[in-house]
Every structure is written in C-alpha cells, then in structure tokens.
Symmetry: D2
Subunit: 433 residues, 4 copies
C-alpha cells in the first residue's frame, strides 16, 4: 500500500495546552515523531535563555513543532481540501515540512550561530537529506520526497502556496509560536483569534490568502506579534543572559585555541572549535550537554570562563543602559579604555547588543529581504494588500524599530576595593544614559 | 534596621502563568531567590519524566516554589493579618518555609530516592541548616531562624497553624502544584477555585481551616486532586519512563561496583555509588548533569546500560499490562524464568510498578501516617470535619486506590529471530492481562 | 432539490463564548433559526431568576439552543459519520431535535409550570406540530418530519441512539448548559473536557456510549454537574426569588378569580387564569411581558400583590432557614398561626421550598423514572455501566440529596411597631434552625 | 459613627465573570447597590441591540457598574492608598462615582437619546441629586456629598485626579466595558492586561498616570479598544437593529401627535411624547417596558408601526450598502424619490447611519472636545504624553475613522408583485455600492 496514505488503526492524540489536542492519523507523521532527530527537539528550549526572565518559558521546540504541524493539518484537511488552487498531493508534503521546519535548531541557536557562524536552516536541510532516521522515513514515501520537503523549508519549492503555509508574514510557524510563547510565559499579549484566521484562510495561486471578512483577526495578529517582539523576545534581561552565553563560547574557543588545559575537556566542542563540525557531532549537541559544560566550568582555573559560567548558572547577569553606538562611539572608546585600566576585560565585559524588528511590510522590490505581503481576498475575487485596507497596519507598515543596549557587570564596577577613582568615572559615564 | 522587615525600594514582580504575577516586597525573600541553591531549582523539572507523556510539562520546581510562596503571601497578608490566632511574627517564617519547602529536591527525585535510598526532605533540612547561601541569608534574620524554617518544613514546629499552611491535606503546596501541573500539561482537570479557597481560609488554633461557605470549593479541590493523580501523576507512560530511568541508575551502580571501565566516567555519581554523598556533591546534581550522562552512555560498551539509555533518550519505553503481583506470583515466576531463557535479563527488563493514592481521609488515630483532616469553620465557630458535611467527600473518604502494572520491552519479545518459541510463550502469558 | 440536503452558499457563523463559533451550513437549520418561534427564545432567560444571585446569568435560551445544536452537529459530522450503528439519514433529524428541544419553554418556566400546571415539553410538541413557522419549515423536509422531530424530543422515537444524544444522563443538552451556565455565572465549577467527551463518544445499538479511555472526562462531567446543581441551580437566593414570583402569580390569579379590578388589566394572563390557554396565547408570553406586569403591578391597590411585586423588582427577597417539614410540622403549624395573628398572610409569606437531585444512577428497573445509565465501551467491544468502573461515580451513585428551606420576610417580622410580642415568638422559633 | 467609614460585619461578595469577585466592605456601597434606582440597571442591557448580532451580549449595566466600582476600589485601596497626590478623603467619593456613573442610562439609550433629545448624563445627575433612594443614601454621608458625586461624574469636580479615574481616555469605565463586552460577546479582541495596568497606575497632580514600564499594556488597551469599536460596537447588523428601533420611536410619536388611536395605549410614553418627562417617569422606563410595547404593537393597525415592530421582534432587519452621503446626495435624492413612487416611505425605510471613532488623541487645544491625553510617568518623575513614546500609538493618533451606511428593507424591494420596473431601478442604484 502507498505508505504516504497509510493511516494508523487508531488515531493518536497529544494533549497540547495551545491547541487542546494534536491529532495524528498518518503513519508517516507518527513515524517521523518517533525518530531520534525529532525527539532531540525535546532537549532544546523554544526560547533559549528567556526562561531566566519569564520562568514559565521552559517549553521545548518539540511542542512547537507539533503545533505547527497541527495548524497545517487543520488548514489542509478542514479548509483547503477540495478547493481550487489546492492539490491534495501537496498535503503530506506540507505536513512533513511543517513538522520538520525547526529540526536543525541547536541549543541556544542565537548565540551559537553568532559565535560559530552556523545556520540552523542549513542543518535542517542536512538532517532531512542526510543519513538519518528522518531521511529514511521520508524516503519510504518516495525517493525524491526528502528533497521536496527540504525545498519547501528552504522556500525554493516550485509551489509557492505550500511554501507560504510554513514561511511568510502570516504562517503556521508564527501562529503557533506567538500563541505558545504567550501561553508559557503567561503574558497577556500574543493572543489572537486563530480559529478565525483558520476559517478565512484560502488557497490562492501562489500564496495562502485571507478572506476580507477576517481582516480584523489579521490586524490583531500583527499587533500581537509586535507586542511579543518587544516585550518577550527582545526583553533586555534575556538579552543579558545571551550576552553572557555568547561570551562563554568565545572564551572557551579562545582558551582552546591557546592550548589551555581544561579540567573538563570540551570534547563535544572540539569539532566546533576546529571548524570541522559534522552532522553527527551537531546532533549530539543539546541544552543538557551545553549546560553540563557551563556547570562544570564553574570550577575551571581561567578566571573569565569561571566567572562567566558562574554568572550564567546563578543568574547573575550584566546590567545595561540604552546606548546608540553610532552616536556615542567616543564614549564607547573611553569606556573600553577605562575597563582595561581597572582590569576588567572589555572584550568580555562591555558588550553592545542591538535588536531590531519590522512589524509588517508590503513588497518592496529590490530590498535585501523581499517580503511576501499579506493579501486579502475580496468578495469579488481580487486580492488587496493588507496595509491598503487596514488603517492600523498601514500606520506601522515598513516602520523598523531598533534598540541598542550596552551591557556591563555593575557589581564589578561598584566594587571599589581597587581602582576606585576610575570606576567612579565609569559609573559617571554610564549614568548619562 | 530589622532585616526581616526590610522592604525593597520598588516591588519586584515575576510574571507567572498560574497566579498572573508573583509579588516580592521583602528583602529576605528577594535575597533567597537570588541564592544559587534556589536558582538550582530551575534545573529540576517539577514532574520528572512526565514531559514524555504530556509534552507541555517541562516546567521546573523554580516556578512552583515561587507559586507556593505567593499563595502563602496572599494568605498571610490579605487574609490572616490582624485576625485572632494569627501572630504576625510568623509571617516571614511562613513565607520562607513556603519558598524553600522543595529546596532539597534532586533530579528525577522519585527514581533517585528509590535507588539510592535518599530523602529529599533530609536534603532540604541540610541546605537550610548547612553552609549554604540560603543559610547565610536566613541567619541574617536571626541566629535560630534557619532552624525554625527547617522545623516548619519538617512539621516539627510548635505552631501547627504555620505548619498546616505548607503541609496538610489542603495546603499551599498542593494548591499550587495542582493548578500549575494542570496548566502546563494542558489537561482540563486540576482546576478549582483558588480565589474562593483563599477567601475562606481562616487561622484556627493549630490549623488553617475553611469557612463552611467555601465547602464546595474544597470539594472541588479534592476532586481535582483525585483526577490529577490518576490521569497525570500516575500515567502509565510516565511510569514506564521512570522504570527505565530507575534501571539505568541500578545498572550504572552495578557496573561501578563491578569495576566496569566507563568510557564516560560517572564522576558526579561516585559519592552516590559509594554511599558517601555530601551536601556539596548533592547540590551539583541536576537534570542537565544526569541527562548528560544518559546521553553519553548511549555509547558505552555495556549492552544493558547502552540499551536503556538509548531507550530513555529516544522515548522508546516499555509496554505494560495490568498485573497484580499478589495474585499472580506464579506467572511472574514463569515470566522471569522465560526471560532468562531468551536472554533478556528480567532484573532490568521485567519490572513491577505500583501506584496508590488515598484521595482524602479524616483522622484515624494509630494509623501509620496520621493525617490531619480538613476542618470546616461553622457559623457558630465550631469546627466540623469535611467528610461529615460533604456527601461527595464522605463517599470517597478513606478509599485507597491502587494500581499495579508489569512493564517489559515488547519490541525485544516480538523480535523472533531468536528463541521464537519461548517468546511466543511469553506473549501468550502477557496477553492474559 | 432535496431541501434537507440544501447547503447555504456561504457557511453562516455565530460567535459563541462557549463553543467559539457555531457553524450553520444547512438551509433547514438556517430557516429554523429565523422563525419567530425560535427568535422568541431570545426573550426567555436560560436560568430564570438566577441573575438575581449571579448577575452574569442573564443569558437566554437562544444561545443554549444553538449550543446544543452545535454539539450534535459535531458529533454527527465529525465523529459518527461513516461509523457502524449510525444512519446518516438521522443526521438532520438529530440536528433539528437538538436545536428545537427547548422551544416550548416559557418565561420563568419553573414557577409558571408549578402555578398553572403547564408543561413546557407539551408546548414544544405543539409548536413543532401546530400552525407555526417552525412547523412549516420542518414540513418542507417531508410530511412526517415534524412528527419525527417531536418524537425524538418526547423520547418516543424508535431509534434510541438519536434520542440519547438529546436526552440521557450525558447528552448534548446537559453538556451545553453546564458549560454555558458556568461561563455566564462566572463560577469555576461546571468545566469539564467537552473536547475529550466528543472525541470518545460512539454510536452504539440503542445509545451513544463513551470509549473507556474517556472515563475520567465522564467522571469530571458528573462531578461538574453535581457542583452546578448545588451551587448554582439550587442556590437559596435564586429559590427565594422564585418563591416570590410564584406567590405573585398565585395572588394575581386569586384576585382575578375574585373579580378584583386591576389598574393594569392582565390581558396576557386571562386565558391562563381561565385555563383556556391556546398555543398562540402561550407564544406571546415571554419575560418582557411578565416583567412588564410585575413592574406596573407595583402600583396596584392590593397590598399583597403590590408588596410582592415591589420585592421582586427591587430584589428585596425573603430570608430562609433550613427546615425539614416532615420533622417539624408542629412548629410549622405554630408559625402559620402566629403569622395569621400578626397580620402576615402565611399563604404568601411563609413558604416551604425543597430541592432534590440524584447526581447519577444506573438503571433500576421498576423505578418511577427509569434512567438510562452511562455506558463505557471497552477495548473488546463490550459495554460496562459507568459506576462499575469508576470508584468515584460508584461512591455517589443513586444517592439522592434533598434540601428543605422555609422562606419568610424577615423585614416584616423584625418590624416591631405592631404585635411586638408575637413577632418575638416567631423570631425565636425560627432561630432554632 | 461616621457612616462613610462604616464597614459591614462580613464582607459581601458578588461572583463576577470578569473580575472573578467584586468585594464590598463599605456600608455606603452596600446600601447604594440595594436602592431601586441601582437595581433598575439590571433591566437595561449594556450593549442595547448588540445581542441580535452577538447572542451572548445579553448582559446588563448592573454588572458593568459593579465592575467599574471594583476597579476603582482596587486602585484606591491597593495602589493609591498612602501615596503622594492621593487624599484618602476622596476614596468614598471615587467609589460612589464609579458605581453610579451610568445610573441615568435608559433602555436602548442611543436610540432614545437621538429621537427624544434626551441625555443620560443629565438623568444621572437628577437621580443623584433628586428625591431618590440613591440620594438619601448619599446624603447620609454628608449634606453636600450627593453634589460632589454628581460633579465627579459631570467632570466638574475640582480634583481632576478623581475625575480622571472615571472618565478619561484610559479610565475604569472603559477598562471594565472593554473586558466585559469582550467576555459576553465571546470575541477574542478586547483583552488587555488589566492586572498590569492597575499595578502601574499612579496618582499625579491632576490626573491618574501610568508608569513607563507599563507602556506596552497601555498600547494593548488602545488596540483592544480600536478592535472592539469596529468589530463589536459599530457592527452593521447592530446598527440595523438600532435604525429600526429609532424608526419605531419616530413612528409612535408621529402617530401620537396625529391623534392615532392605539390598541395598546403608550401610557409610559405620554410624557416623553409631550416633552414633559419627569424623573419618576424616566425611572419607570426600562427594556421590559419598551419591549412590551414593541411586542404588542405588532398588532396595531398602522402598517408602518406594525411592520417595524414585527421586524424588530423577529430580527428581520434592513440590509445595507456603504454610502457616503456627502458624495452621493444625488443618488440619495433619486432613491428617495423612487421609494416614494413604489409606496415605501423613505422617512422610515431609507436610512443613513454613520459611525465614527478616534482611537486616541493627545491634547489639541481649542478643539471641540478637548481630550486629556494619557501620560506616562518616567523614571525621573516627568510625564510624557503616550504617543511620543509609543510608535504604534503615534501611528494611529488623531486619525478619525468614519463609516457611512445606507439601510433599506431588501425584502420589500425584491418583492416585484408591484412596481417591478422601478424596484429594479432601485436595486440597480444600490448595487453600485
């Protein structure tokens, strides 16, 4: 029998706080969930270091991946099925791409990608196409099925309608993570009427679109997204934790490069440090492994590594001020010099961090990242770009907001047992902001 | 100034999905939360292996501890304050005991305590009384304050009213964990009207009691508790994960005792295996450390250890049948013999597990664990034991429910490449249940 | 084309707080909702006088009727469709019966039925079978369709499976009203996992049954029902409002019989008083009409009518004591006599009221009202009666709980400007309870 | 004892779906709730005809008034108490003004005010200052207390801080109604973090302000308000119901003026029609009374009155098209003429209706309605106007949105048994929009 159509004898159900239940009837999906590469997502938190700020945000990418699958399942089975522009053959492809879209995420992706120049999307491709349990399940569907799934996730698949379900300015990925992250953090933002959105989504030629009657639900989604970015994802304390984590990774690599003798050898990091990371090495990395090292490195002799690890584990983070590096490069130089002079290495202890977001934008051809706009389906069958119909979206459309912060260890600077005078100067400089 | 009365210049707030916000105004509480022993609770999940069954249940004991504190804070500050029987001097003591009551929990407590004969309550005592950051904060209140906090948690404190807030059949601990575990698992059970309970709780001579007008909320709590036990806490899949974890620990110790050469030396386990565990060793144990070992031990040469670890990591657990060992000891013996014969070690692969709960009981003097009943405060000031007033509680009062299961690796037994005949016998024996 | 299969060109949707959305795709259902008899349900509150106790409970039977329809629609379309024992021909019949099951309810049914010896179920039959807009819609399906719908509601329809969806110990009617009444009152009881129940409901020979795996959800439903009865439906203040309403109706009829000259003629009541009520008269009665009379009768000359109406409008109800009439008939006689003596007519001002409920019962042949038990569908296809499997349901099964109260106007008795001595005796007698 | 400080022996509690519980400890508040003028609010729906669109919106102004009181109680007792700028003497004044702010609302205020040129705020003043139960309770506080309460509601009270709690761009009134109307309609808009807003509200010299840290909660409130206005309050079906109601009132007055002989004499309307309405007459008007007349007038001989009443009762409303009267006055004239010619009176059956809202605005001196802006309290104690800090509020600030619709009875125009040709012309003209 056609494996892609094989149904479980009894539907399987996952209890999910966001969607109540996640339903699995397809053998392919069930088998994918059981692979070790997918189970690995249980060991990677959805929001990295955010749990230090919102203690409820301890949820993993496992639940989120199931959630995105469930949303696409509802779209394809309850809404798209039988409608023009929708090809039932793309159903299983969409479901698999939804389930697997985050498969290549590593622990604390943001910091790791920055420090080691990695790309989780690249690893997602490798896992799907390489010698893995996931690949062997997908291959049972057909020989070129893994390639197709990889293409959908990479946004190179020919049918853009399928792609738009997984990645666009209003896709299943974003719908799930906004609701899920709001639920687990406990914030009251991030809620929008997903039931309504799912009822008005329609397959169009090369994009999923939304019936005009659901415009207010789309507006609400845009606003929720805006609030979540600035209140949760870019929270300054979370970013402070990430600053420290990034510096731990930097320091460990620097020590390794300098032939420092670790008490606890970073065996899981070797290939990463040597820039020879294989897929198998990568798959062994998860948050337990990373946190194991950070915990044991609290006992290392290197003062900087030991201090940063202890700060991370005990949540003793850096403080911050608003600081625009473009305007204030002189003061930044002064601060760097003063940090050197008081014996606090500014490479590790004086850190600029910027966050930036564009809440929504219509298509601006030629821009570096061309964005597919959200289109509304009017009663007469025409499409209209969202910001033309919505005053409120128009008002914020294309308005990028950026925030710069300078992070530093206030406890060290405050400690006036040494270099009291210069530390006072540092404090004075920082207090201007 | 009196440290126990020192207030923060600005109230600190934690966003919490269960209580919306957790409020901290006392310097003592703020300092306790900042200790490394308390921050360690972030690294220990509230429900151990339950996240394998309910993927949302990834929350840690950190949030729960804050939650219990918040409930007691509301009771003392909003309800008890100024009432007869309540001594305002016990406020800070109650808050600290609430916050710290779970401090001694280790990773996967249930399994560890069973295998290594540990007692998390004993460690809570040691952390509070020993050379720790927590102890040094508590000592700043007064020299004998740590001892008092430890007594409240140990239920030996002279003022039983204080004790009853933290541990009784309806206490802040249970209120928080039922609501919290229901929230994170996403089940619809476990909800009861905590607002109502907090409004009707009153200080009585040696116990917190509940005004009669809140009886229905108390009933609802009892029912919620009942449902959570059987549907979440005793879920057979969770127990299957625990069975495997327990056997991993057994195997590792057995190998250690037999001078097996580990590829990855269990340095964090040495003192545990040798029965020389110090408090400092214990505090280093958390789920990241344990899961690090389970992950790397997938590469060990010992087949049993390697197999069990791989099962745990990839969620490939044992199957089960209902099995009453008292009635079926003959069949159990037969199965053990057959397992030996087909080369599957029954010490690791044929495991009995029992769960048992008493939903509520009134005081039955002389019983092994005397339980303080829940008392209702009548309009005339008298107390009445709950089950005398509530038909529904009376109906289930004192009725212990027990469940026995026999766990085994169905995949190995199914594999008929060897010992096909005897494996069929095993299957036949198991299919009777 | 077959009218019963006619679909709307675009699905219609009602926003509903309980089920999020109510979906209508069938022309028949849409037409029924538009009839004036169905729209009339907007003018009859779901919970009668309960809004005096829980101010949120102002919701009408209109929303409840839509809710019951929506539940049955989900059962038939999402669960039963295509399964053995289920005949797709019964779909539209089930939907109509669900939508219309409460059609005959009048304003404050409980009081009206008691005083005027009416039966709302009888009126439901008449509306469906008589000369009404509802009947003419139903007749368009087929000539004997109205009769079938009426039979399902009357529980005389041959296919008991269909009947059980609308009226049994766990039916769509109860599921909706428990959730809805909990929502609008705002109580935290009344919640159970309807998603789970709907997923495990199965068509059986002559009854809808529930898969064993959903037993805990069924238990939770039983407990919710129990709590709602005693905390909301039988709330003593609500009953006090009903006592007064009942006495208003009594008094108006008595005055009418005595040829009293009303300032505001009770034209809408004439046929009711004369026991000549027609269907058309009945359909004109709703809460606006009734409350209009109660409001204007505040200006009547008859002291009792005027007083009772003013009490009702301004929520100045009677007080109550627990009072078992069987045990205390002597005191009751004494009180009646004293009331007479102090000039307070005991026929209107000393009122016994009893509430009684049986939370669940299995089938007890020969009892006055034989109840169909809730059956669980076991893995092997057998049925087991709920209380045999559930300890908690077994514990309360068949246990009827009854509550008696004696209502009286405390303000009048307290007023010692006349008959001070005897009023003191009354107070003393009442204070015993 | 000072009546304004008298506490109830036991706190009274109302179960409320929005705030969980509403707490009353003050005798004054308890007495006010018991007055017949306040109980009357139970008979006036919060959202007028909205229940025809959102069937859950059947809630009355009674619950809303309690809700506004509860919010102000929390602000004064939990937040403002003891802070600079707050005078504890204003507490009871604020509570009473909050509770009574809507006291003068009549049934379907919007329509009645328009047709009869009434002003509910004027009646609120009269009830508070006139010969009422409310006035006599307030007078017990002090002789000029009623006047002060009236001034706060009229925004003429000298202490603008108190006024701003009840009426400003972010006040207790709006907070409650947005949450409450969202709850009862069941829409997913309208939610914002009231807990957060209440935690950051601070008394300032002449206004309540919000700490900067709560800015995102304020933004969320502004967005919720925007969504509620356009999706709930200005819903075109609701406006259609209002159009009909308005025309019923017009017709009844016109008939009265023309000495038409009513079957059911509009005795409750006489003084309204004659423009001699007294406070006592006004207080007798409520939705039961009005709906009584609309129901019985279905039997009147006047065709227009009878038709409009029947449409209202059976929810057979007018259809609509978008129609800007400024641009399209020619077509409007044509339509009026055609309506005349086909015998449909355009005065009753061709109705323009406009809705307009300004989501937020800062202070623009000299404008017709000067609006107090929302101010944020910065860390350094300065105030900043919201739109200067919030990009998203700035984007919509001062942008008025207006919507015009033309309503007409499509069923009558469609009916081509007479004037077929001209009706076709009407349809063609309308179809342009």
């Amino acid at each position: 029998m056609d494996y892609s159509k094989l149904k479980l004898s009894e539907e399987k159900v996952f209890k999910d706080p966001v969607h109540r239940y996640i339903h699995v009837r397809d053998q392919v999906i069930w088998d994918l969930i059981g692979t070790k590469e997918f189970q690995r997502l249980r060991r990677i938190r959805q929001l990295g270091t955010t749990y230090f700020t919102f203690h409820g945000a301890e949820h993993s990418r496992f639940g989120h991946s199931l959630g995105v699958y469930e949303i696409v399942r509802r779209i394809t089975d309850d809404i798209f099925k039988g409608r023009p522009n929708w090809n039932e053959k793309d159903r299983m492809l969409s479901l698999c791409a939804a389930l697997l879209h985050d498969l290549g995420h590593g622990p604390f992706s943001h910091s790791f990608e920055k420090v080691f120049n990695l790309d989780h999307e690249e690893f997602t491709q490798q896992i799907i196409l390489g010698d893995t349990e996931v690949n062997s399940v997908l291959r049972k569907v057909s020989r070129n099925f893994p390639k197709k799934v990889a293409e959908v996730i990479a946004k190179t698949y020919e049918n853009k309608l399928v792609t738009s379900l997984i990645s666009s300015q209003l896709d299943a990925d974003r719908m799930d993570y906004l609701l899920r992250d709001a639920y687990f953090t406990g914030v009251s933002y991030g809620h929008f009427d997903i039931e309504r959105l799912l009822r008005v989504i329609r397959p169009h030629e090369d994009q999923a679109v939304f019936k005009y009657s659901g415009m207010h639900a789309v507006e609400d989604y845009i606003m929720s997204r805006y609030q979540m970015y600035w209140q949760v994802y870019f929270h300054p304390v979370t970013r402070s934790a990430e600053v420290i984590l990034t510096k731990i990774l930097h320091r460990a690599k620097e020590l390794h490069d300098a032939y420092y003798e670790f008490k606890y050898q970073p065996v899981h990091f070797y290939s990463l440090f040597e820039d020879e990371l294989t897929l198998q090495d990568y798959l062994k990395l998860d948050e337990h492994i990373i946190l194991y090292y950070i915990e044991v490195w609290q006992e290392e002799n290197d003062e900087i590594l030991q201090d940063l690890c202890t700060r991370f584990i005990n949540r003793n983070f850096f403080k911050y001020v608003e600081f625009d590096p473009a305007k204030e490069f002189k003061i930044h130089n002064q601060l760097e010099k003063l940090f050197q002079e008081v014996g606090i290495d500014p490479n590790y202890y004086l850190v600029l961090d910027s966050s930036s977001d564009l809440p929504y934008d219509f298509y601006r051809p030629g821009e570096e990242e061309e964005r597919l706009p959200i289109n509304l389906l009017m009663g007469n069958g025409e499409l209209k770009e969202l910001s033309r119909e919505s005053d409120i979206v128009d008002a914020i459309s294309g308005k990028r907001r950026t925030d710069h912060k300078l992070y530093f260890p206030f406890d060290l600077i405050k400690d006036e047992t040494t270099h009291a005078e210069k530390k006072k100067q540092i404090v004075e400089l920082l207090e201007r902001f």
